[in-house]
């Protein structure tokens, strides 16, 4: 079974992001970038399927500017067999990415596509679902456990207040939630091997997709600064302030 995993290059989760001075965008100058954490989980799951003998080949695909080849290399170091870079510049919205991924799906015909449930920069939570619609494949989103059984894929999903188990016919789409697995570290020997793995680069034209934008970003601003706290003298004053100033108790 061939598995395609999507990996996105995003600002490192632990970096405190800042808005550009003119408020047009997030300042990415000299900021540490990493694989989107949910994509990292997707790669791990695919590699585990390969190690379990279920998957025969794992392909990591990333859409974006040239530097996202770094994240593809990371996926290769984690155990993906080869990479595909769809080189496209600018702010790419989920629909465009889903169309480009659909192009890759048409070329590669994977039985399973694993994506993160959302990326921590755009917080869109759309790409997997849109790809499902475009490729006409069933989808199991927010997966916390997956298991291939014959030509079916069982997906356990984290839904409000409990778990839901779905059975999807293959080929299918899965988007990962946090508890699906704990990704491994990239080993140095594997990082070196990854340098020699195949990485193909496509343009949107190669995939027959035109990159058009329907949404423009008007403004980016940091959250309002938190007001400094105060020290209260005693419990009575605390209760008084909670009651009369904050009005959170009555």
């Amino acid at each position: 079974m061939k598995v395609l995993v999507a990996v996105k290059r995003v600002v490192d989760y632990n970096v405190k992001v800042r808005a550009k001075g003119d408020g047009t965008d997030v300042d990415l100058n000299n900021v540490k970038m990493a694989i989107n954490p949910f994509c990292e989980i997707a790669v791990e799951e695919a590699v585990r399927l390969k190690e379990a003998g279920v998957a025969t080949e794992v392909i990591a695909v990333s859409v974006g500017a040239k530097p996202c080849q770094e994240q593809i290399r990371t996926a290769l170091a984690l155990g993906a067999d080869r990479g595909i870079h769809v080189e496209a510049e600018g702010r790419l919205e989920p629909l465009v990415i889903a169309k480009l991924l659909k192009g890759v799906v048409d070329k590669e015909e994977p039985q399973l596509v694993i994506l993160g449930k959302q990326s921590i920069d755009g917080d869109n939570n759309q790409t997997g679902q849109m790809l499902g619609a475009l490729a006409n494949m069933p989808q199991g989103t927010f997966a916390s456990e997956i298991k291939v059984e014959g030509d079916k894929l069982n997906v356990i999903r984290e839904v409000d207040g409990g778990l839901q188990t779905l059975s999807l016919s293959l080929p299918a789409i899965v988007t990962t939630d946090l508890r699906l697995n704990e990704p491994r570290y990239a080993s140095l020997p594997n990082i070196m091997k990854a340098k020699k793995k195949q990485l193909d680069v496509y343009t949107p034209e190669d995939l027959g997709v035109s990159v058009t934008s329907h949404v423009s970003q008007l403004k980016v601003e940091p959250p309002a600064e938190r007001k400094a706290g105060i020290k209260v003298e005693d419990v009575a004053q605390l209760v008084d302030k909670l009651k009369n100033e904050a009005k959170v108790i009555s």
């Binding site: 632990n14 970096v15 540490k32 954490p37 080993s187 140095l188 070196m192």
Partner: protein
């Protein structure tokens, strides 16, 4: 233990305020000891002064009533320096926690003695700067305590010890005077540098009330490697290889047993499955891709030489932090076995031989005890921890470890090393001080103490007896 007399109680209250003097058992437990659990805290009282003036008033009171004072910082010390077990008054500096006068040109900031180390780190980060002294207890330890122990930690190979970051300090001496030492100057060759004597004095010369600390530029894009090695010798070869070619920020090591303990008890992921005897953790800045390429090339070399069996590298800040936890969580993880700790050092080049000898003695002496090795190694410092078997009574355990300590310290002496690389002497290592300091040196230390503290009221019984 005699209860405090009403006179002294009210005199202490007059110094710091009624509600800042504690004489209850819970406060004694809390303020009367550090991380060590060997002595039973038994102070006369605990006081929390709020200014240098109040500290001076306390010292004058102590002189008048012949009271001994124990300065107390974050109480994370590992040598029973901040232990009051003899009717002393504990002076806890927690309230002197102001951070002021940040100066980006001088790259300095003024801290009350009670500022928590992590608070200074966070303050520096908010200003786009960096305070580099860091270790697992920095969330609780205080600047005053760090100065008084000359704390080291995980970035010593690149940034040195606390001493290197103290641009000035204020201390109330044992005669109640306030000294303002060095006042933030970079260059000041006008006579003796008394500041340096106060750093590492473990509160025996006076009470540090304020310090002007230096800040650095923040490190650029840190990467963390964890490498598995077949033996200690290989760890040192890896160190030599990497240090010869790169500016490392940190070079730590830990043993397989240490790793097993943190993995099980902290629920952390092993870095890789390949078995190894020892692990080295390296951290370096990535100014460009060339740095990582260099690190990879050195890794290949180390593998070819048989010094390294496997390794991982952080791909994100989160992974760097998780890898650091493998090392930083060791102390806390093993504290449930009330380990007998040795914090020893020698010059870096002699570490492999030194370690082999220590290890031979230790494993011959404790065939049935679990030994956990870890430490800063890149600066010649190893922490040897002997875990107490659950079934063995504490007293017997202490006694047996004490015997073997002597043998270990004899090796330390032969290697001209230190019996306390970074944790200080306090009460715990006092009997062994002569293994790394000559009788003459110790005698001169006593004389220096007399100059600062003529009546001997400052943390008496710590480091040496008078």
């Amino acid at each position: 233990m005699a209860a405090i007399s009403p006179d002294i109680l009210s005199a202490l209250q007059a110094c710091v305020g009624t509600e800042r003097v504690f004489t209850d058992a819970v406060s004694f437990e809390h303020y009367g000891r550090d991380w060590t659990r060997v002595h039973t805290p038994a102070p006369l009282a605990v006081v929390l002064p709020g200014s240098a003036g109040e500290v001076q008033a306390l010292v004058r009171l102590a002189l008048a009533h012949k009271l001994a004072l124990v300065p107390s910082g974050g109480r994370t010390g590992l040598s029973a320096g901040a232990v009051a077990h003899n009717g002393e008054v504990v002076v806890a500096l927690d309230r002197l926690d102001d951070i002021t006068d940040f100066n980006p040109v001088d790259r300095t900031v003024r801290c009350g003695a009670g500022v928590i180390t992590a608070q200074l780190q966070a303050f520096a980060a908010d200003q786009g700067f960096f305070y580099p002294v860091d270790f697992a207890s920095s969330g609780s330890s205080q600047i005053g305590g760090n100065i008084s122990t000359n704390a080291g930690g995980i970035k010593v190979i690149r940034h040195g010890m606390t001493r290197d970051w103290v641009a000035g300090l204020k201390i109330v001496t044992g005669s109640g005077e306030l000294l303002d030492l060095n006042r933030g100057l970079v260059k000041n060759n006008a006579g003796y540098d008394l500041r340096q004597l106060v750093i590492g004095a473990e509160g025996t010369l006076g009470i540090v009330v304020e310090a002007t600390m230096r800040l650095d530029r923040p490190p650029k894009d840190l990467a963390v490697l964890v490498l598995g090695t077949p033996d200690m010798k290989a760890v040192m070869q890896v160190l030599e290889t990497y240090q010869g070619a790169m500016d490392l920020q940190a070079f730590e090591f830990f043993s397989e047993l240490a790793l097993q303990k943190v993995v099980v008890h902290q629920g952390l992921q092993r870095p890789f499955a390949t078995p190894a005897e020892f692990y080295a953790l390296l951290e370096f800045e990535q100014h460009s891709d060339a740095d990582m390429e260099q690190a990879m090339a050195l890794f290949e070399h180390c593998v070819e030489q048989g010094w390294v069996v496997d390794g991982v590298v952080s791909q994100s800040v989160a992974q760097a932090q998780s890898l650091w936890r493998l090392r930083e969580d060791i102390s806390e993880t093993i504290s449930r076995w009330t380990p007998y700790k040795n914090d020893i050092s020698t010059t870096i080049a002699r570490v492999p031989e030194f370690l082999a000898e220590v290890e031979a003695v230790v494993s011959a002496s404790y065939p049935e005890f679990e030994i956990v090795w870890f430490g800063h190694i890149g600066d010649g410092n190893v922490h040897l921890n002997v875990l107490k078997p659950d079934t063995l009574p504490m007293a017997e355990f202490q006694q047996r470890c004490g015997e073997v300590s002597r043998w270990v310290f004899e090796i330390v002496q032969r290697y001209e090393g230190s019996i306390s690389a970074e944790h200080g002497v306090g009460l715990l290592k006092k009997d062994y001080l002569h293994y790394s300091r000559s009788e003459l040196e110790i005698q001169m230390m006593r004389q220096i103490k007399k100059v600062f503290d003529p009546q001997g009221i400052m943390n008496p019984g710590k480091i040496f007896d008078l």
